[in-house]
């Protein structure tokens, strides 16, 4: 299980060919925030369900993707296409545009576009729909606090990631700092696993990473996580949810997707998927789960 996202590997070539110009258009629209004009128009014609995945998801291996696709296809009762992109922004733009029926996104974009997105389901990890953000450093590095990270080369996962960017940004903002000056150099890996790689290799002195990803990696790639050490864990925050465009809320397809996710633990094929993901299941959740993220977002907007 590599834990690295493989952008576009599951998309069919025909679909890519037909929609390539639309993607470019949508990507440009996402940058100016005018996606609200388009829901439904670009949605699938009802024949195929498109489910988006972001790098927060441990898109580890073909087995997981195959099993997830098979389970969703069987549960939804329609062919399911798994759509993957390198960045959160790309998936969010596709979701907002209505191109995707649903997507597993991060809590940060969910809060950013809360007025245009609806919750479909929230994963349950270790008994609750919550997770943490970790600040990690090299195993041998003798520091205990984020204040010792000043002047580091710091690795973030994605500028739209809660655990991989927003939490650290909010922490520094609260202290009157900004990442660009607090750290000597920052860069984005666009994958939580690659944040761990960057810190373990010494490329980055410290990194902001999804706690769920780090914990799962410590089970399946202990040689990598063992080279890092957790300096700080954030408070518990809402787990990256599965969301849909608000316009699609209550639609049969959306409901079928939600039902498939919520009953995943009851199905042997779904149980296998959950086992691979180290998740307990899914819950309908509510927007209140993401209040902590919303507060950080407000804090950054206010003070940043």
């Amino acid at each position: 299980m590599s834990g690295r996202m493989a952008p576009g590997t599951a998309a069919s070539s025909s679909t890519r060919a037909n929609l390539s110009h639309r993607r470019r258009f949508l990507a440009s629209l996402a940058g100016v925030g005018s996606l609200a004009l388009l829901p439904g128009k670009l949605q699938a014609d009802g024949q195929e369900v498109r489910f988006g995945l972001t790098p927060v998801f441990l898109s580890s291996d073909l087995e997981l993707l195959t099993r997830l696709k098979a389970y969703l296809t069987a549960s939804v009762g329609r062919p399911v296409e798994l759509v993957m992109r390198r960045t959160y922004q790309e998936i969010t733009a596709l979701l907002l545009s209505g191109y995707l029926d649903a997507a597993w996104i991060c809590g940060y974009p969910f809060i950013q576009y809360q007025d245009r997105l609806s919750l479909v389901a929230v994963p349950i990890w270790r008994g609750q729909p919550l997770y943490q953000s970790y600040l990690i450093v090299d195993r041998e590095r003798p520091i205990d606090d984020v204040s010792d990270m000043r002047g580091d080369i710091h690795a973030f996962s994605d500028p739209d990631s809660n655990s991989g960017y927003l939490v650290t940004q909010a922490l520094l903002t609260a202290a009157g700092e900004v990442p660009s000056t607090y750290f000597r150099k920052t860069f984005f890996t666009y994958s939580h696993r690659d944040v761990v790689r960057a810190v373990a290799s010494g490329l980055a002195a410290s990194g902001s990473v999804d706690g769920y990803v780090w914990e799962v990696m410590s089970e399946i790639e202990p040689e990598l996580t063992s080279m890092t050490r957790i300096v700080r864990k954030s408070e518990w925050l809402g787990f990256p949810p599965i969301a849909c465009a608000k316009a699609l809320r209550g639609k049969p397809t959306t409901e079928r997707i939600a039902q498939a996710l919520l009953t995943m633990g009851d199905d042997p094929a779904g149980r296998q998927v959950l086992d691979i993901l180290r998740l307990d299941g899914f819950t309908p959740g509510d927007d209140g789960l993401f209040r902590g993220i919303a507060q950080k977002y407000d804090q950054v907007r206010r003070l940043g």
Binding site: I153, A155, R184, K185, F187, F188, T189, D194, R197, A198, S201, G202, L203
Partner: protein, 486 residues
């Protein structure tokens, strides 16, 4: 050095030729090995350059976009993944630097942290070496590839490559060459030795026969060892055998001539002896007649007996000298002073007949080393010739002494002088001079042969006042040549 060369030149051909072959093979294999290693080294360097070039080409094309936008992670990710793609290159580390000389990312960030300057020691390696610097003693190669975008430099890639495997391969090739060439050289040298031994075997046979011939037993090569008629050694052996036959015939002829000369000398001696015996015989018969007629007279009887006794003593001396001279001629008894004095009795008839004055100075010690027979025969021959050559009433001299470790006997006469052609026969120095083909000089050849037979030398010189001086010199020290005592 010269001595060593002389010793080497004395080695058998069967050893020298394989040795030369082995030395040549070692030289050839050394040259070939060197050529192979040079070519291998060039091939390896070319291979390394191509591999490094492919590695850097692949990296540079994918890295340029990330270098342009300072994409630290993407650069590192590319470097990290390239390790598997270029596993055959054994890159120890790879560094990507920006135009400001600072490291953007390296394959080993612990060793080369981002944002630090590229180590000066690494940059200096390329000052004189271009973009590929070899450090064979370290087992490393260093490569550099400038990065540019739209013809503008934007940074560079540096890589250190482990070339121990290439060097080990070169050492392995060298070892294989040494072992293979060494084994082949030994095998070929062994075959060469056996082949040359076989080829020069006829030379050994010839050398063996010549060595035997030096000891006086010259023999032809047996028919079974001669080989085919048209072969080189077959022809050589046939010529050698023809030579042996010719020498044998000449030896036989020489022996016959020597015998004839000896018999001639003996005839002359016998004639003189007869004369010497005949002279007292007349007086002795007269004494016997006188005794028969005046047997009662004690005085007459006494004087007659005295005459008989003197006559018989003279006859006994002549007979004894003759017996001594010829009886032991083939034996190698050592020469005594008396042996020379005995010769006076043998030449006395000639001396008396020609009324010669005989100057005789024998200063030899009682016994000297040289064999008595050949010396006595040679001296007798020379004395008889001297008597014959000297005019009536002339003088013949003999001086014998030991000087500087050599027996020296000089015989001089007052004759007309030895003819030039006879002197050259007498003075011949070759090992086995042929007998004279014309009538004269047989005696001189005989004397030369007798003296040289015992390792001596003889030399005849015309005297300024007329006459001839013949000088015989023989070493008195066994197994030593005249050169050491002259």
């Amino acid at each position: 050095m010269k001595r060593s060369l002389r010793q080497i030149s004395a080695w058998p051909v069967a050893v020298k030729v394989p040795l030369v072959v082995a030395v040549l093979m070692v030289a050839v294999s050394a040259v070939l090995s060197n050529q192979i290693l040079v070519r291998l080294s060039q091939t390896q360097q070319r291979h390394l350059e191509q591999l490094a070039s492919a590695y850097l080409d692949g990296l540079s094309s994918s890295l340029v976009p990330y270098v342009l936008r300072d994409g630290i992670w993407e650069i590192f990710d590319q470097l990290d993944r390239s390790r598997e793609r270029y596993a055959g290159l054994s890159a120890v580390y790879t560094i990507v630097a920006g135009q400001d000389g600072k490291i953007l990312a390296a394959s080993d960030p612990h060793e080369f942290p981002s944002q630090e300057a590229v180590p000066q020691a690494l940059i200096e390696r390329f000052v004189t070496a271009g973009d590929l610097a070899l450090a064979e003693d370290e087992g490393r190669a260093f490569v550099r590839r400038p990065l540019s975008y739209q013809d503008r430099p934007i940074g560079a890639i540096y890589a250190e490559i482990d070339i121990h495997a290439l060097l080990a391969e070169r050492r392995q090739v060298l070892l294989t060459l040494i072992v293979t060439n060494g084994a082949l050289t030994l095998i070929f040298a062994g075959f060469g030795y056996l082949a040359v031994r076989r080829m020069v075997r006829p030379i050994d046979i010839l050398a063996e026969h010549l060595e035997r011939g030096r000891g006086g037993r010259i023999e032809p090569v047996p028919r079974g060892q001669i080989g085919p008629k048209n072969s080189e050694f077959g022809r050589l052996f046939r010529r050698y055998n023809a030579l042996v036959r010719a020498l044998s015939e000449r030896e036989t002829l020489a022996a016959r001539l020597a015998e004839e000369e000896r018999m001639g000398s003996l005839g002359r001696l016998a004639s003189g002896m007869a004369h010497e015996i005949n002279n007292p015989l007349g007086g002795m018969f007269n004494a016997i007649d006188t005794m028969e007629r005046h047997n009662d007279d004690p005085m007459v009887r006494h004087s007659s007996l005295q005459i008989l006794k003197r006559g018989l003593v003279g006859i006994r001396d002549v007979v004894r000298a003759t017996l001594v001279t010829y009886k032991a001629s083939g034996e190698s008894t050592r020469l005594r002073a008396q042996d020379l004095d005995d010769l006076r009795a043998l030449i006395q008839p000639d001396v008396g007949r020609r009324r010669l004055a005989l100057a005789w100075r024998n200063e030899l010690p009682d016994v000297v080393a040289p064999a008595a027979g050949p010396v006595r025969q040679a001296v007798l021959n020379l004395l008889l010739n001297a008597c014959a050559a000297s005019p009536v009433g002339g003088q013949v001299c003999l001086v014998a002494a030991v000087r500087d470790g050599a027996l020296v006997i000089e015989i001089a006469d007052q004759g007309p002088g030895i003819p030039q052609e006879v002197a050259s026969i007498m003075n011949a120095t070759e090992v086995d001079p042929p007998p004279p083909t014309c009538g004269t000089g047989l005696g001189a050849w005989m004397v030369n042969r007798l003296v040289r037979q015992i390792g001596g030398a003889v030399h005849a010189t015309p005297l300024p006042a007329g006459g001839t001086l013949v000088r015989i010199a023989v070493s008195v020290e066994p197994n030593k040549g005249l050169r050491h005592v002259a």
